[in-house]
Every structure is written in structure tokens, then in C-alpha cells.
């Protein structure tokens, strides 16, 4: 049975060789369709992989709470100081109120100017605890990172990020040097105890979470932040004064298990709403929800791509059908002879179906081979844009610049099966036409 199948395919191949160009064009049609499926899916997977990585970096078991400055109209009083956001009481209430909580990491952040000797850098000044480094995958490149003891001792020490170190100290070792941090119109001197490794900035995810550049940070103990700078931060900007009173900029809550995220976030939202009312001065971001949304989006994207690619396969199928119809007409006499020699209608159907399957199968295999060229092709295109069209390159979003297509195994299998399926479907009509021909008419055909 199998042997016979192989034999039929071999014969089909042989008779297709009689019209190489024609067969080649039919194969090309399928090839393009199959390649399109694989490439489009690979690009889609690549994009969504990036998004998922970013979300996973946030931690799927995390719930991220941020202080949000209310819009100007709703700011209370005539005071130029706006009081808003998460409080230390919120922090304590969350720790007590959420039973599944593993930890909550508080953080306070302002923008500030830091000086070392004559050099100066605009930085994000972050008051944090030891866990901050952990949840953001920050590790030390030199010296050490902040520890629990630093929080207790409330000393003027700082860990600086890679770019901050470079702009303040060039390529000198910053360890043991001092920096001056200006805030609230006073300047404090801090001892640099460590420097973090540089880290890819996280891109923004949808509209719910802005990206974060970890390379221009200065980290000091949260307790030091509170005693040296305080909750109220005033900045003078071109004459006018602006101020905010914020206890905590962010609290990152971690629960033990994925299944606890939903409940925990509900409790937190209820808790916070009770004390913040309708001020709208905080936001809750749930990476797991984002992950689900991204997954949804990816699926929808894939469906769309498969539809597009399916259309091109359909067109390829029409090409095959066209060629098979021509072949059948051309070989009418041969069909008559075979019928006279004892071929049944089924035999004739098999013969022509095998030919279409060889055509579409070859197209499928060639398409899969071209499918694997997706990465080099993508790399080549990006390289050309980066080196020859730098203007266009700069205007591309980082998602595209760093795009790495991921070839999905299922897309290869699906594309190949669909191509053979297309061959069968589009070959059926010409084959049936051949089989139903009147043998005598066929024999008489010129």
C-alpha cells in the first residue's frame, strides 16, 4: 500500500518534469503562501514575545500600585503644594489586610540633580529598600547594593546606576567617592557604596504602565530619603514654586501564587478606595492581567495573519488547479488509453491527485525552507535600514528595532499540511474531470 503510494508519487514527479516551467510556477504559488504563513506568524510571535517578556519582568505574581498626581482641576485648596498618593498607612494596611501577601516593597522617587566635583547629572532619585533591587532584577556591578541594615542605620549612602556613574565619574571607579544630592533647596553629601549593572530599559506596555530607564538612577535607603528630604518636595521652576507631598511613589505587592493575584488585587483596591475615596490619586497595575491581554492580542493577531496567509495559499491553489486543468486536457488521450488498458475511474483520480499533491507538497517543502530564512531576512532588512537609512531607523519604535522573529513549530506543520490540503482540494476537480471523461471520446481526442 505504502509502496504503491510512493510509486504513484514517483510517476507523478516524472510526468511533472515534462513541463518544468509550468510545474515550477505552480510550486512557486504554493511556496509563497507557505512562506507567508511561517514568516507572518514568526514576526507576530516575535513581537508578542517581547511584550510578554516585559510583562514577565514586572512579575506575574506582582501587583503594582503607583501614586498618581490628580489632574489640576481637582487639586484641593489654594496651596501650591499638592498632597496625594500612597501613604505609609496604606502600606501597613495592605501588609495586614491581604492574607496571601508575601511582601510589599515601598519606594519613593523624585527627579533631582546630582553633583560630583564639577560634573553634574539629572537623575531619578529613588528611596527604596533592599527588595527593590530584587524585584527589578538589578544586580551590583561594583561594590554592593543596599541592605536591610542600611535601611535601619539611615546613613547617607547611595548606589548609583551605570549611566549616572559614567556621567559623574567618567570611567573612574565611583566606589568610596562622594556625591552631592540637591533636594528641597538643600544639598546633602552621600557616600557611593555600589554601582548597578546596566540594564535594558523596560518599554511601556500599552497605556497602563510607562517604560522605565534604570540606567539614570540613584538609590538611597528609603529611611534616609524620609529623614533627609522628607515627604514634601518643592521645586522652583522659572520663578514659580511647585510642590508635592507624597509619602510613597510606588508599592509593589507580591503574592505567593498566581491564583491569588485576583483576590489580592480586589482586597487592595477596596482598601485603598476606602481611604482615598474618589480622589483617583493611585493606580493599580496587574501584570498578570496584562499578560492575559497580551495573550489574547497575540491570538487575534495570529488569526489575522493566518487569514492573510490563507488567502495567498488559496491563490496558490487556484494556480495549481489551472495547471492541472491544462494538464488533464493535454493528456486526454493518455487518459483514454489508460482506461482502455483497465484503469478504473479511481485510478485516474489517484493519478492526477498524486500529481497535484506532488506539486503542492514540493511547494510546501520549499516554502518551509524559505520559512526558515525569516530570521536572516529580518536581520538583513533591519541591518540595511539601520546602516543606509538611519533617519527611518530612528523613527522606528524599539519593538521593531529589536524585533527577533520566532518561528513557531506549529506554523510550519500547519503551513505544510494546509499546502498539501490545498493541493488535494484544488486537484480534486481536475482529477474528477479526467476520471469522468468518456474513454472513447478521450481516445479520439486530438
Amino acid at each position: 500500500m505504502f509502496q504503491r503510494f510512493v510509486r504513484t508519487l514517483l510517476y507523478s514527479f516524472k510526468s511533472l518534469l515534462l513541463h518544468k516551467l509550468r510545474a515550477g510556477l505552480a510550486v512557486l504559488g504554493i511556496l509563497i503562501g507557505v512562506t507567508a504563513v511561517i514568516w507572518l506568524v514568526a514576526l507576530g510571535e516575535g513581537v508578542s514575545y517581547q511584550a510578554q517578556q516585559q510583562i514577565k519582568e514586572l512579575g506575574a505574581t506582582n501587583i503594582i500600585l503607583k501614586s498618581v498626581k490628580p489632574s489640576a482641576s481637582s487639586s484641593s485648596g489654594r496651596s501650591f503644594i499638592v498632597e496625594y498618593g500612597l501613604t505609609r498607612e496604606d502600606y501597613d494596611r495592605i501588609l495586614e489586610g491581604v492574607p496571601t501577601i508575601e511582601r510589599a516593597v515601598p519606594m519613593r522617587e523624585i527627579t533631582s540633580t546630582v553633583r560630583a566635583g564639577t560634573r553634574e547629572a539629572d537623575v531619578n532619585l529613588i528611596g527604596c529598600t533592599a527588595a527593590w533591587f530584587d524585584i527589578n532584577s538589578l544586580s551590583g556591578a561594583r561594590g554592593r547594593i543596599l541592605t536591610d541594615r542600611d535601611i535601619e542605620e539611615r546613613q547617607n549612602i547611595a548606589v548609583i546606576a551605570a549611566e549616572t556613574a559614567e556621567s559623574l565619574f567618567g570611567y573612574e571607579d565611583p566606589l568610596g567617592k562622594t556625591i552631592e544630592i540637591a533636594a528641597n533647596n538643600r544639598v546633602d553629601v552621600y557616600l557611593v557604596v555600589g554601582q548597578t549593572k546596566s540594564r535594558m530599559p523596560s518599554a511601556s506596555i500599552g497605556s497602563s504602565l510607562e517604560g522605565r530607564d534604570y540606567n539614570q538612577d540613584v538609590y538611597i535607603p528609603l529611611s534616609t530619603f524620609r529623614s533627609r528630604i522628607g515627604d514634601q518636595v518643592v521645586t522652583s521652576r522659572t520663578g514659580s514654586m511647585e510642590g508635592e507631598l507624597v509619602e510613597l511613589s510606588q508599592i509593589t505587592v507580591t503574592v505567593g501564587d498566581l491564583s491569588q493575584v485576583d483576590d489580592a488585587s480586589d482586597i487592595i483596591e477596596i482598601l485603598l478606595e476606602k481611604y482615598h475615596g474618589s480622589k483617583g490619586d493611585f493606580s493599580v497595575t496587574i501584570p498578570m492581567e496584562l499578560l492575559k491581554q497580551a495573550e489574547m492580542l497575540r491570538m487575534m493577531f495570529n488569526v489575522l495573519l493566518v487569514v492573510i496567509a490563507g488567502i495567498s495559499l488559496f491563490v496558490g491553489g487556484i494556480g495549481i488547479m489551472n495547471i492541472m486543468l491544462a494538464t488533464v486536457t493535454e493528456r486526454t488521450r493518455e487518459i483514454g488509453v489508460r482506461r482502455a488498458m483497465g484503469a478504473s475511474q479511481t485510478d485516474i483520480i489517484e493519478q492526477f491527485l498524486a500529481e497535484t499533491m506532488v506539486l503542492s507538497g514540493l511547494g510546501g517543502i520549499a516554502g518551509v525552507v524559505c520559512g526558515f530564512l525569516c530570521r536572516p531576512a529580518n536581520f538583513g532588512v533591519l541591518w540595511v535600514i539601520e546602516n543606509w537609512l538611519p533617519e527611518i531607523w530612528r523613527s522606528l519604535p524599539p519593538t521593531i528595532q529589536q524585533l527577533q522573529p520566532i518561528i513557531a513549530p506549529w506554523s510550519i506543520i500547519a503551513a505544510f499540511c494546509i499546502s498539501v490540503g490545498v493541493g488535494v482540494v484544488f486537484g480534486l476537480y481536475p482529477a474528477r474531470r479526467a476520471a469522468l471523461m468518456d474513454p472513447i471520446e478521450a481516445l479520439r481526442h486530438e
Partner: protein, 232 residues
């Protein structure tokens, strides 16, 4: 003697629009096994039509046709195809070889439609070579039809018709495209096959060729006008 085939009041009509062409109008005949029949008659008298029905390539509009004990009207396409394959060898005026196949491939083609479609074996190939040898083409196995003369092509067609060892050979003007000496060679082969015990039914226009057969049937306007043993 056992009957190779029997036809009874056979009609074959072609419907062209509202016009009816009556190619056969009630033909009755018997073909004993081992017979050698020449069918003669003017052009359009229904000779080819009769032969196609006898070969199971065409189905009559009405009437009975029994071949080797099977009533053709009750057979499915598959069964009828099997009978064509096993029992009947066709030889055509225009040879009808498959042009992209070699001599050997043409000869062995009917083997691929044997019952249950068994794969080709070494013995099968040897047998095809042997047949080519018998018709005098042992040195042309790898040639293609267009590299052969008409007589040679017809011999290939005869070898192809013989490959499944058919009991009946149907030949529609097998010498129609050949000169007289080549025709004589073909007829000699047919005579030999008849001597082996095969039934041969042959359509021809040439009386000298028809004379070689044991029996002649004359057709006129879709009917048998005369049936006789030669010389008689």
C-alpha cells in the same frame, strides 16, 4: 466451443441536440473462443462502435452483452475496468502509445492496473522484455514512440495488449496506417496469437486483410448485413 462473447439485439444511439444518431440498430452475434473475425463495412456503418462495446469501453443504449459469462450491464466501472485489464487487449489504428514513456514503460503500463494493483516485480519486467523480443523490438526497449516507425509502434501496441495474457484481442483497423508489407507482418503476428487460442476481432477496410480471418462480418447502417466463413 465456449463463447468468448455474445451480443443480443444491441442498440447504440447518440443524442446530438434533438437529433438521434443510431450507430447500432439491433446487432446480434456470437463470438466463440478462438475465433478470428474481421468486421468490414463502409465508413460510419458502426464498426468501431461495435468494437468499443465489445471491449467494454462503451455501454450499449439497449440490448444484452455477455462477456466471459458476465452481463456487462450489471457491472460497475471498477468491475468492467478489471475485465478490460484481464481479458481484453486493445490495438488501435493510431497505436495510442504514451509519448513520454519508453517502449518498455508502454508495454508494462497495463500491469499497473492488475487486480489489487500489486507492485511491479523483476519477473514482470522480464516478461515485458520477452514480449518486446517476440514482436521484434528487443533492442528498442528504451526508445520513445516518436523514435519508432509506424509498424514498430504498432508492434509495441500489440505487446502492450498482450502483457496481461488476454483471451480476446480487439483491433480497430490495426493496419490502417501501414503499408502492405508491414501490414502483412502485423497480420502474421495476429494469426500467431489466434493459433495460440486467443479470440481476435478486427475491424478492417481492406479485403486482403479480412481474408486472413476465419470469419467476416459485414456491417451496414448499424446492422450486420452479412456473416460468413471465409473461404466459403
Amino acid at each position: 466451443m465456449e463463447l468468448a462473447g455474445q451480443i443480443d439485439d444491441l442498440h447504440k444511439y447518440y443524442y446530438l441536440g434533438n437529433q438521434v444518431v443510431k450507430a447500432l440498430r439491433g446487432v446480434t452475434a456470437e463470438f466463440p473462443g478462438g475465433d478470428f473475425v474481421a468486421i468490414m463495412g463502409s465508413s460510419g456503418s458502426g464498426k468501431s462502435t461495435l468494437l468499443n462495446v465489445l471491449g467494454g469501453l462503451d455501454r450499449p443504449t439497449s440490448g444484452r452483452y455477455v462477456i466471459a459469462g458476465n452481463d456487462v450491464s450489471t457491472l460497475t466501472d471498477h468491475e468492467l475496468s478489471a475485465i478490460r485489464n484481464k481479458l481484453i487487449g486493445f490495438i488501435f489504428q493510431s497505436y495510442n502509445l504514451i509519448s513520454q514513456f519508453t517502449v518498455l514503460e508502454n508495454i508494462r503500463m497495463p500491469l499497473s492496473y492488475r487486480p489489487d494493483r500489486p507492485p511491479m516485480t523483476r519477473e514482470d519486467i522480464d516478461w515485458c522484455t520477452e514480449l518486446a523480443l517476440q514482436v521484434g523490438l528487443g533492442d528498442r526497449l528504451d526508445h520513445r514512440p516518436h523514435q519508432l516507425s509506424g509498424g514498430q509502434q504498432q508492434r509495441v501496441a500489440i505487446a502492450r495488449a498482450l502483457v496481461n495474457g488476454p483471451a480476446i484481442i480487439l483491433a480497430d483497423e490495426p493496419t490502417g496506417n501501414l503499408d502492405s508489407s508491414t501490414s502483412a507482418e502485423i497480420i502474421e503476428i495476429l494469426n500467431r496469437l489466434n493459433a495460440e487460442g486467443r479470440t481476435i476481432i478486427m475491424v478492417t477496410h481492406e479485403p486482403e486483410i479480412a481474408r486472413e480471418a476465419k470469419r467476416q462480418i459485414y456491417m451496414k447502417d448499424g446492422l450486420i448485413a452479412g456473416d460468413g466463413i471465409f473461404p466459403g
